[in-house]
């Protein structure tokens, strides 16, 4: 079998699988352009009839346009990603490369906080953030998102896999710990940081529950929360508009992914995740 034939030998079944994976997305796209009455129609309607371009128009430019929320979501996501990268990289580095007493125990304790069901935190967080004066501000979303355990976990796994000899050599040359971190290890970490960046962006972008409880003014709605504009007081979701908004909201994440994808793969390559 030639290389090219081998490529297609694996390629064809994978593409078939990929198309199966895409079926739900095809339906999402089609529902985004449907009238509400047709969304749950049986048999399934794959081609919208009539095509309701108005859904996109309403979502983008209507009274309850998601665009302002879009902007806020980008703002929140960018700050969260930046903060997360900064704090998680340093903490991950220390947990992996600087030995001190009780380090691994502390790390396990750290990891344990990620296991507590997040639901339970909503009420205490509300009361607490209100006392801090953060309630109904975007900072209530940004600040907790800047300091996460999973990000630290990911970075730790990367630094653990890097050889310690670099540090030893640098130390002999009189470099201090900060210099060792920032000049030697940090440059190596740029690919894994872009990986963490993608994940942190996705986490921030799709976070619904935190803003639901901590934000109340429509002026501060983020994207997932602005979807509730398409939910009436009976809790009924307007399917066409919700789907249109969801489809629109995939675009930036997909862009971030595609741009960083090569680095992401490369980054994951270097994390040596355990």
């Amino acid at each position: 079998m030639t290389n090219k034939a081998a490529k297609w030998y694996w390629g064809i079944p994978l593409w078939i699988l990929a198309i199966a994976f895409l079926a739900p997305f095809a339906w999402m796209l089609s529902t985004a352009l449907k009238q509400d009455v047709d969304a749950y129609r049986i048999p399934m309607q794959w081609i919208p009839d009539p095509v309701q371009w108005d859904n996109l128009k309403t979502v983008l430019t209507g009274e309850t346009s998601v665009l302002p929320a879009f902007g806020r979501s980008v703002f929140v996501a960018v700050l969260r990603v930046a903060g997360e990268l900064f704090t998680a990289t340093m903490a991950g580095y220390a947990f992996a490369r600087i030995s001190f007493k009780g380090r691994d125990k502390l790390f396990l304790l750290y990891l344990a906080t990620a296991i507590i069901p997040a639901q339970l935190l909503l009420v205490p967080r509300f009361i607490y953030f209100q006392k801090l004066g953060l309630y109904d501000t975007l900072w209530a979303l940004i600040l907790p998102g800047m300091f996460t355990v999973l990000g630290t976990f990911l970075m730790r796994q990367f630094f653990v896999s890097q050889p310690a000899e670099f540090a030893e050599a640098a130390r002999m040359d009189g470099a201090n710990e900060w210099q060792i971190f920032s000049r030697i290890y940090l440059p190596l970490a740029s690919p894994v940081m872009s990986a963490l960046g993608i994940l942190a962006f996705v986490w921030s972008w799709n976070d619904y529950e935190t803003p639901l409880v901590l934000i109340s003014s429509p002026e501060n709605y983020t994207l997932p929360l602005s979807l509730t504009n398409f939910v009436d007081e009976q809790g009924q979701i307007a399917p066409g508009l919700t789907m249109a908004a969801s489809v629109v909201s995939i675009v930036p994440v997909l862009l971030v992914f595609v741009i960083l994808q090569r680095r992401f793969i490369a980054a994951m390559t270097h994390t040596g995740i355990k």
């Binding site: 509400d36 049986i42 002026e219 007081e233 979701i237």
Partner: protein
């Protein structure tokens, strides 16, 4: 947290566009409770009526400013409201929709005692009525006032009704309902979406409770489970597997508009789907019939609802009361749009018709039957006053009903299980409230 509502309003006025609300930065400050703006929280989107009520109020009382905050009326949204009230957030007036929340909030000091204010107002005497309560009373004190009347009725698809040659009933029994549904069932249309709550019609308010036990031993409950199951089996009621797998409870209107089923037992809030030709196109008129009676009993399944409450911590109690009263009386008309019939009935029939049935009522409705069923008929609405363990019981009931109507469990064991769970829930709640 205090929001400087005035800046929002000014900018709104300045830009004039509704979309502008989005560009105004959310302000926040420390402390709270001293803002000059009346803070109102409700579950209805501002554009579906509340904003118009607020504007009319501000016009009449220029000394007051009102900021309406919409919360999503689901579990998490209500939890947020509770937490906000408890956490001392600046809220003066708020709405409660679910029965369970009503009892909890009224009984936990989150609702101001409005008894004296209601007594002092000749327009509001009806809220003191305990036979057909329109207020929620906690130990004899008025804690919440129903803003809306939600009578149930049965809708007919006129086109299909005439094709089938079925009379529009003026009064009918549950057996008639079944027979009619059967007659209306064709190869493409199922007779009825589901059956009305039979036990509710027979037993009226507080029908889940019998002393300190649950009332599910009453045969009407099993009868309801059985009737639903039999009608599903004979094909005259929508298959429950379809209802669950398409979430039809939330989207009944779509299937009704597509003539997937015929009889629709529903309430005023669903009428708004029936006159919007652009978003919900359909080519038939809709007529109204009263709910069927059960064993000679004619409780309407609907209730007084959409309760308004005043936060006892509000420093603006007088302004808050002024607003509540305005909403209940002269300000109630804009809420008709969302299907909220005012409790006090202080709107003209014409206002109701154009408010609830759209600009061209005759095009989409048989207005005559609307007049007879909704406007002139005095419905016996049942508003519950006992709500012990309400959410647990309602979950148990829904779970067992699903299993029964899917055909996985017989009516008798299903209702027995509801009874067991409800008794346990009542016992536990009585114990913990001691």
């Amino acid at each position: 947290m205090r929001r400087k509502g005035f800046s929002r309003r000014e900018v709104l006025a300045g830009l004039g566009a509704v979309g502008a609300a989005a560009v105004v930065p959310g302000c926040s400050g420390g402390g709270g409770g001293k803002s000059s703006v009346l803070q109102v929280w409700g579950g209805v989107p501002a554009a579906s009526g509340p904003q118009a009520v607020v504007e009319a109020f501000e016009k009449k009382f220029p000394q007051y400013k009102v900021n309406y905050t919409r919360f999503v009326n689901d579990e998490r949204g209500n939890l947020k409201l509770d937490t906000a009230l408890q956490g001392g957030l600046d809220i003066d007036v708020y709405f409660t929709y679910a029965q369970a929340n009503l009892a909890l909030r009224a009984g936990s000091g989150l609702a101001a005692d409005l008894t004296e204010r209601v007594r002092a107002d000749p327009d509001l005497q009806v809220f003191l009525d305990t036979d057909q309560p329109r207020a929620y009373l906690d130990n004899g004190r008025v804690k919440a006032l129903a803003t809306a009347r939600e009578p149930f009725f049965v809708l007919f698809n006129e086109k299909l009704r005439q094709q089938a040659g079925v009379e529009l009933p003026q009064s009918w029994t549950i057996e008639d309902y079944r027979a009619t549904a059967k007659r209306l069932t064709t190869h493409s249309t199922i007779g009825a979406y589901t059956i009305p709550d039979l036990a509710r019609i027979a037993l009226g308010p507080n029908y889940w409770y019998d002393g300190d036990k649950s009332n599910f031993g009453n045969p009407h409950f099993e009868q309801g489970f059985r009737l639903g199951r039999e009608m599903i089996a004979e094909g005259s009621v929508f298959p429950w597997s379809e209802v669950l797998s398409r979430h039809l409870n939330a989207y009944q209107q779509n299937s009704f508009l597509k003539a997937e089923f015929h009889l629709w037992s529903t309430a005023p809030f669903n009428l708004r789907y029936l006159y919007d030709a652009k978003k919900y196109p359909h080519d038939f008129k809709v007529s109204f019939a009263p709910p069927p009676t059960v064993d000679g009993n004619d409780w309407n399944g609907g209730a007084y609802s959409n309760f308004v409450m005043v936060n006892p911590k509000s420093p603006k109690a007088d302004a808050a009361w002024e607003f509540v009263k305005f909403w209940l009386t002269e300000g109630s008309a804009p809420m008709l749009k969302g299907g909220k019939l005012p409790t006090l009935g202080n709107v003209t029939d014409d206002q109701v018709i154009t408010g609830m049935l759209g600009k061209e009522p005759d095009k989409f409705f048989d207005v005559d039957s609307f007049n007879k069923v909704v406007l002139t008929k005095e419905q016996k609405l049942a508003t519950d006053t006992r709500l012990t363990g309400f959410p647990e019981i309602s979950l148990a009931y829904n779970q067992q009903r699903d299993l029964c109507w899917l055909g996985e469990k017989d009516p008798a064991p299903a209702i027995d299980e509801v009874r067991r769970l409800a008794d346990a829930a009542i016992a536990r709640n009585e114990r913990s409230s001691e």
